[in-house]
């Protein structure tokens, strides 16, 4: 009996990819619920990686006709009897499970357990930001940054050995050999075999001639045969020599056959977005407020990164004066004093003007604040927003951090002594891409974020 041993390890893995996609699609609704749940508790930083998600196992069950395990009269055969005798009675466990022996009680308890599995970062983000869209998107020119990708571009005659293209080289080698009529090695072999054959034929003739040197007649016949054979051998050997010379002269592979894969660098045009994060760092903003703001900014950054090839982030913090800063400073440093919002807006405007050509860049501005502002500054804020900043941007999101839970659901602009909200409320009516949401605790962030980017008419300002 024969056998075959095959090494399949090099075969492509991931045969199940499309099954997996189907499965994720199937459980998407539940995955989303599960993620919303996760968003409430998880630190936003974690979101950059995938993770384990759970969906209720019943949502993806495959029903079959089967017996209700609690019904009917059944007999079990169990191994490991220690003490029971025929006729013994054993009280059923009071859990109401109604099933005896072993672990099945516990099994059923966990049986309802959720189905837990891991998803990758991309799958995670896909679901996280599914059906969100960028508001007020404008077609901008693609920005050509000093970044290149390598692309294959045909073959060249010179290159490094690791780029050698075997197929192309061999095609040329074959072509050249045919064109130059390189003799086949097989032909030489054939001729050599023929010589050997003739030599074999020659042997008996020689023997006869040596044995009967005086038998004139016979010798005459054999001698002529021998001569014929010798002539042929000489002829063939001459041919072999000729062919061999040609064979050796034309190499199997020649430097002129060699072809190398060629790569060229092509500039990689990208659609680009800049995101401004404006944070109030005055005394009124405590750790809680900053943490909320940060969560929102990170989500926004993730989202924009999904949609754009290139996303730049500008951090601006402000109290009575505004300053551009690094991310580190942005979230950690403490400031004190009052709040003059207009300075930050002014700074943002300047930076856009100076650094970001609107022909290429989409501009997103998000501001997080508890709403405090010097009352004298309010008019200023309104003017800068209305005349300078807003006409330049695609989107302006204001995250209003409120002090009490019940305020989250109140109407925007009402009650809370937040001066900013009132101003922005006015602007909201003019510029439809201005949006305001309130948050109180981390679990508000994700729903608020979804509302910001929900497709039009879907979740805009209740």
């Amino acid at each position: 009996m024969t056998k075959h041993i095959i090494d399949r390890r090099q075969n492509p893995k991931g045969k199940n990819l499309s099954n997996r996609q189907r499965f994720i699609k199937r459980s998407k609704k539940h995955l989303k619920d599960s993620m919303d749940e996760a968003m409430k508790t998880r630190s936003v930083r974690d979101l950059k990686s995938g993770g384990r998600v759970r969906v209720p196992s019943k949502s993806i069950k495959e029903p079959q006709f089967n017996y209700d395990p609690k019904s009917g009269q059944k007999d079990y055969i169990l191994p490991g009897n220690q003490e029971y005798l025929q006729g013994d009675k054993i009280r059923k466990p009071s859990s109401g499970q109604g099933s005896g022996g072993g672990q099945e009680g516990s099994d059923d308890a966990y049986g309802e357990d959720d189905f837990v599995f891991s998803i990758s970062r991309d799958e995670f983000l896909d679901i996280l930001f599914e059906d969100l869209e960028l508001p007020n998107l404008k077609e901008k020119k693609k920005k050509s940054i000093e970044e290149f990708t390598t692309r294959r571009s045909g073959y060249v005659n010179e290159g490094s050995p690791n780029n050698l293209n075997l197929e192309q080289s061999m095609i040329r080698s074959i072509g050249r050999r045919i064109a130059l009529k390189k003799p086949k090695g097989k032909r030489i072999k054939e001729l050599e075999e023929r010589v050997e054959e003739l030599n074999e034929e020659r042997k008996p003739l020689v023997a006869i001639i040596e044995k009967y040197p005086f038998n004139k007649q016979g010798r005459c016949k054999e001698a002529s045969l021998l001569k014929e054979i010798d002539d042929e051998i000489i002829e063939i050997e001459a041919e072999i020599k000729k062919i061999r010379a040609r064979y050796n002269a034309i190499s199997f592979i020649d430097p002129i056959d060699l072809k190398f894969n060629n790569f060229t660098k092509v500039p990689n045009p990208k659609n680009a977005a800049v995101m401004f994060c404006i944070l109030d760092v005055s005394i009124s903003m405590q750790e809680r407020e900053k943490d909320l703001a940060k969560r929102f900014f990170i989500l926004l950054h993730l989202f924009l990164s999904m949609k754009y090839d290139l996303v730049e982030v500008v951090f601006i913090r402000h109290h009575t004066t505004a300053k551009e800063c690094t991310e580190e400073e942005f979230f950690t440093s403490k400031e004190s004093g009052g709040t003059v919002v207009s300075t930050a807006l002014e700074l943002a405007y300047d930076i856009i003007r100076k650094r970001y050509d609107l022909e290429y860049w989409n501009v997103y501005v998000s501001q997080a604040s508890d709403g405090d502002n010097f009352t004298t500054d309010n008019q200023q804020v309104h003017d800068i927003m209305a005349t300078k900043l807003l006409p330049l941007v695609q989107f302006f999101a204001y995250v209003s951090i409120v002090a009490h839970q019940h305020q989250v659901n109140n109407d925007i602009g009402s009650s809370v002594g937040s001066g900013l909200e009132k101003i922005y409320k006015v602007l909201m009516d003019i510029f439809e891409y201005v949006q305001i949401r309130r948050v109180y605790e981390p679990k508000d962030i994700y729903p608020v974020f979804r509302k910001f980017f929900a497709p039009k008419g879907d979740g805009k300002n209740e």
């Binding site: 009996m1 056998k3 075959h4 041993i5 095959i6 090494d7 399949r8 390890r9 075969n11 893995k13 991931g14 045969k15 199940n16 099954n19 997996r20 996609q21 189907r22 499965f23 699609k25 199937r26 209720p56 019943k58 949502s59 993806i60 069950k61 495959e62 029903p63 079959q64 006709f65 089967n66 017996y67 209700d68 395990p69 019904s71 009917g72 009269q73 059944k74 007999d75 079990y76 055969i77 169990l78 191994p79 490991g80 009897n81 220690q82 029971y84 005798l85 025929q86 006729g87 009675k89 054993i90 009280r91 059923k92 005896g100 072993g102 672990q103 059923d108 837990v116 599995f117 891991s118």
Partner: protein
């Protein structure tokens, strides 16, 4: 004597595998008399093993989300370290495909080769169920045909359409089987041609359900003829739907065929788990011992093997937390070994219980058992008092109304037969899968389909929630309402003679969907797997062979 083929710590290599294979072949074929398909040993990574697991243990399978779910499940389990993967996976095909995982040690590979490449392989080729129901020569081709066909359907009619239809079919895949009528041999090319033919034929002929010229004054005889023409009652529900569901399109009918053909292929595996594993374990145990006798493997390898062997064959007792039913490996192996013992050193008890095999030729008897039995009949025939004693088996009665379990039999002279009989019954296919058949359909405008479930003598009921879910799926295929009546045996005796219909309707279910619209994804229901009632989990329903 001879030098060991490999040192204890050495990694496997292709050369070694080849040598070990030859050594195993020598033992299995020449000493044990195994008769196998040609083997194809494939070395795979653990990811590929997972892939194969998820596609119902086959090297290829059509795309469906349930496979993705299975994959996610196994992967999760594996990464957590909850389960180690199977050392082997073997496919009933010709040539017989064996997967060897690259992580396995050389000893494990040896074990796997003896176990799968010879044990299972012989079983596949010789057991009457496999011979009757599966065509090892063409299964791979057929799966390829199925995969391509379904892929084309998805391109043509959309993923969702195909998915919901497959879901519906999967819900009744246990009812896509002919239990009595033997199927023809599978052949992928012929199938493809046939599929074309069927499509044209169906187009030419109007389905009788659409016959609107039905005259109400139809005579009973005509009615009867019609029933005959629909071939009711029908145990193969998928087959019935494929032939008679009025609204199905060609491709949907073809999908019906594919699902039931594959279900039919797996039908024997569920019925021979104990024997199949038992025989494979017997072969690997015998082979490893012989290799050791011949000094082809070292003592260290032998110890490693024994550790693996005892792990696989561990049978926890019922009071352990991790007790999960009778381990088929353990039971099967114990029974095979016991047959050998009965033949070689029969006791007085054996002579009384097994007069025809005691003192016989054990090779002949085991090979005969492998060829001609399935789990139920094998246990009924060969479960010996000694095995019952060794396992300390006992029989526990569970009556719903009684707050106590009753110990009905233990491992003593009064108990052996009862235990053996009950054990065999639990491996009976018909005991595990509820008996449900198509009996009729309404001829009025509702056109509802009538199914009937015969309640067994032990009074087990269908679990309610899943039943409705499944009915909804059937309604989706049938196109109209589906009704399931539960019948129970209620014989009336007059003067000791049974009178009237022995079965009476006691209960009924109806699909909630009545117009054949796609059912919503099934809603919550208690998770249970109606296999052996309580001892098995969903994984066991997967009738793939994994150790």
């Amino acid at each position: 004597m001879s030098k060991p083929l490999y040192e204890p710590k050495s990694d496997w290599s292709f050369d070694l595998i080849s040598k070990i294979y030859d050594a195993c072949e020598e033992i299995a074929v020449n000493e044990l008399g195994c008769d196998c398909y040609i083997n194809q040993l494939e070395v795979v990574t653990f990811e590929q093993m997972l892939d194969a697991y998820a596609s119902i243990g086959m090297p290829l399978s059509y795309h469906h989300w349930s496979n993705g779910k299975a994959w996610a499940h196994y992967e999760n389990q594996y990464r957590k370290g909850r389960t180690s993967l199977a050392y082997e996976l073997v496919i009933n095909s010709n040539p017989c495909i064996n997967y060897l995982m690259e992580e396995n040690s050389m000893t494990t590979q040896t074990l796997v080769i003896a176990h799968a490449a010879f044990g299972h392989n012989h079983f596949f080729k010789n057991n009457y169920l496999f011979k009757t129901w599966t065509s090892a020569d063409s299964i791979i081709d057929y799966l390829l045909f199925a995969k391509n066909y379904i892929q084309k359907c998805e391109e043509k009619y959309g993923l969702d359409e195909v998915e919901i239809f497959l879901d519906s079919l999967h819900a009744i895949r246990n009812y896509g089987i002919n239990k009595y009528k033997r199927p023809g041999k599978l052949n992928a090319t012929v199938e493809a041609e046939k599929s074309q033919e069927r499509a044209t034929y169906l187009r030419k002929h109007v389905n009788e359900l659409w016959d609107t010229t039905v005259v109400t004054t139809k005579k009973d005889t005509e009615e009867k003829e019609k029933r005959v023409s629909l071939a009711k009652p029908e145990e193969n529900i998928i087959y019935f739907l494929e032939k008679h569901a009025p609204n199905l399109t060609d491709w949907q009918r073809e999908l019906c065929r594919i699902v039931r053909k594959i279900a039919q292929y797996f039908y024997p595996q569920g019925q021979t788990k104990v024997m199949n594993e038992g025989f494979a374990c017997f072969v690997h145990y015998y082979s490893m011992n012989r290799l050791h006798d011949k000094e082809l493997i070292t003592d260290a390898a032998m110890f490693e093997f024994l550790r693996l062997h005892t792990n696989v064959l561990n049978q926890p007792t019922f009071d352990k937390k991790w007790y999960n039913g009778i381990n088929p490996y353990s039971l099967g192996f114990a029974m095979m070994m016991d047959i050998k013992r009965i033949c070689e050193e029969p006791t007085a008890e054996d002579k009384e219980w097994f007069p025809d095999i005691a003192g016989g030729d054990w090779k002949e008897i085991i090979l005969d058992a492998v060829a001609n039995y399935r789990d139920e009949s094998f246990i009924l025939q060969f479960l010996s008092p000694k095995v019952i004693r060794d396992f300390r088996l006992f029989q526990l009665g569970d009556n719903k109304s009684d707050p106590h379990y009753k110990v009905k039999a233990i491992h003593n002279d009064q108990g052996y037969k009862s235990i053996r009989k009950e054990m065999a019954r639990q491996y009976d296919y018909n005991y595990r899968i509820p008996d449900i058949q198509v009996v009729d359909y309404d001829h009025d405008e509702k056109r509802s389909l009538l199914l009937r479930h015969y309640k067994g003598p032990n009074g087990r009921e269908l679990s309610k929630d899943t039943t409705i879910d499944v009915l909804n799926y059937i309604a989706y295929i049938w196109g109209y309402e589906v009704q399931l009546d539960v019948y129970s045996k209620q014989e009336k005796f007059i003067n000791g003679k049974s009178v009237g219909e022995p079965f009476q309707k006691v209960n009924g279910y109806k699909s909630t969907s009545t117009d054949g619209t796609a059912p919503p994804p099934p809603e919550p229901a208690a998770k249970n797997f109606g296999y052996w009632g309580m001892f098995l989990t969903a994984d066991d329903i997967n009738t793939i062979d994994k150790s």
